[in-house]
């Protein structure tokens, strides 16, 4: 299988979060969280270090609570595969401000690079479409990333789903905060909510 010309995950996430217009970014456990941290820490970054399969649902809860803000879930193919049902739940709710981006390296990079189902057979774009997310696309070029990055800063015309085929290289970890109470209270604070 050719791995030539695959996108660099850090460059993709940097582009997605550039001029973010107040957007909230949720990162799935593992490399996606490191990518979001590498793009720059922000009160509206919601880092996950566990709860595999839960990233899209956390994004959905946020999107329904804050319908005027763009919410962007950035996760990996393994994390997405564990929560495929959440795409069905998003498709039923259709939050216009939610975008889901899967960084697909066809492998479980954090655990030794074992191949995932997307390497063999699963087409996540078709899954998302079949779940009722009409704007579902495969992204393979920088130009497509740039176009998509612009659209997801708007809190309308979603939900959107994009599967981005990325280079499988394991990059140096950029460790984000991992204290949940800090992460959630910092985000709530940026939205004007106090801790209990």
């Amino acid at each position: 299988m050719s791995k030539a010309n695959l996108l660099d995950r850090r460059a993709v996430v940097s582009e997605l979060l550039k001029n973010r217009n107040g957007a909230i970014a949720v990162g799935g456990l593992g490399a996606s969280t490191y990518d979001i941290a590498a793009a720059g820490d922000d009160a509206r970054n919601f880092y996950l270090w566990g709860a595999m399969g839960g990233a899209v649902m956390i994004g959905l809860g946020l999107a329904l609570a804050q319908p005027k803000l763009p919410v962007i879930v950035i996760t990996g193919d393994g994390e997405m595969l564990m929560g495929l049902g959440s795409l069905a739940t998003v498709g039923a709710q259709k939050p216009a401000n939610l975008s889901i981006v899967v960084l697909d390296n066809e492998a479980y990079g954090e655990t030794g690079g074992q191949v995932s189902h997307t390497a063999a057979s699963v087409d996540l774009v078709s899954v998302a479409k079949a779940c009722g997310i009409a704007d579902s696309r495969a992204i393979t070029t920088v130009a497509e990333v740039e176009t998509f990055a612009l659209s997801l800063k708007e809190a309308n015309r979603g939900p959107r789903f994009a599967n981005v085929k990325i280079d499988g290289a394991n990059l140096e970890r950029v460790l984000s905060n991992r204290d949940g109470t800090f992460i959630v209270n910092r985000l709530r604070g940026s939205l004007g909510y106090q801790p209990i």
Binding site: A51, M57, L64, A65, Q66, T89, G180, L187, R188, I196
Partner: protein, 181 residues
């Protein structure tokens, strides 16, 4: 023991309405659920409500993650499920410990009090222990007249003290499901 059947009852019990009022008073906005017959009256009220959003799930663990997102975005929620769904939530319940957010779930019990279906018994027998192993406090309502105060207490400690709480609604309260040919 009283029985519940698949047909609509002539006189609906009052306690689901009392739960709905309590949730309204606590300004609950997002109500994820996996359907259960014991929750059907409450689910109907939620889906007809102008202030609450009922969110059907494919599996219960989705609801735990959704409630964290809701709280992060400034809204309270409650997860409705049946006892068999609690086992589907185990790893996701880690979120209640790591984020210490107000987690409330109302669980209709199966596998006890005159159960017909043996498949419900293993998870129903371990529901309370599973929650407690995961750090979730458990309250239980067994009689119709105590539902209001038990749910109020659960909501108060969940939302005011960020103490993750499950309220078990006993099969004795709901009525054992009757299977007829």
């Amino acid at each position: 023991m009283h029985a519940r059947t698949e047909t609509a009852s002539d006189s609906q019990p009052a306690w689901p309405e009392e739960i709905f009022s309590t949730l309204q008073r606590f300004d609950v906005r997002q109500v994820p659920y996996v359907p259960d017959a014991g929750h059907s009256q409450l689910i109907e009220r939620v889906l007809g409500s102008a202030t609450m959003r009922g969110i059907p799930l494919t599996t219960e663990e989705e609801g735990v993650a959704l409630l964290l997102g809701a709280w992060a975005g400034g809204q309270r929620g409650v997860l409705l499920m049946q006892s068999s769904g609690v086992g589907n939530c185990i790893n996701m319940l880690s979120l209640t410990q790591v984020f210490r957010f107000p987690f409330l779930t109302l669980v209709t019990m199966r596998g006890e009090w005159g159960e017909f279906n043996p498949w419900q018994v293993p998870m129903g027998s371990n529901t309370q222990a599973a929650f407690e192993l995961c750090g979730v406090k458990v309250l239980r309502a067994t009689h119709p007249e105590e539902v209001r105060e038990v749910v109020e207490a659960g909501a108060a400690q969940a939302y005011n003290a960020a103490t993750p709480t499950a309220v078990l609604l006993s099969q004795r309260l709901i009525g054992a499901k009757v299977f007829v040919k």
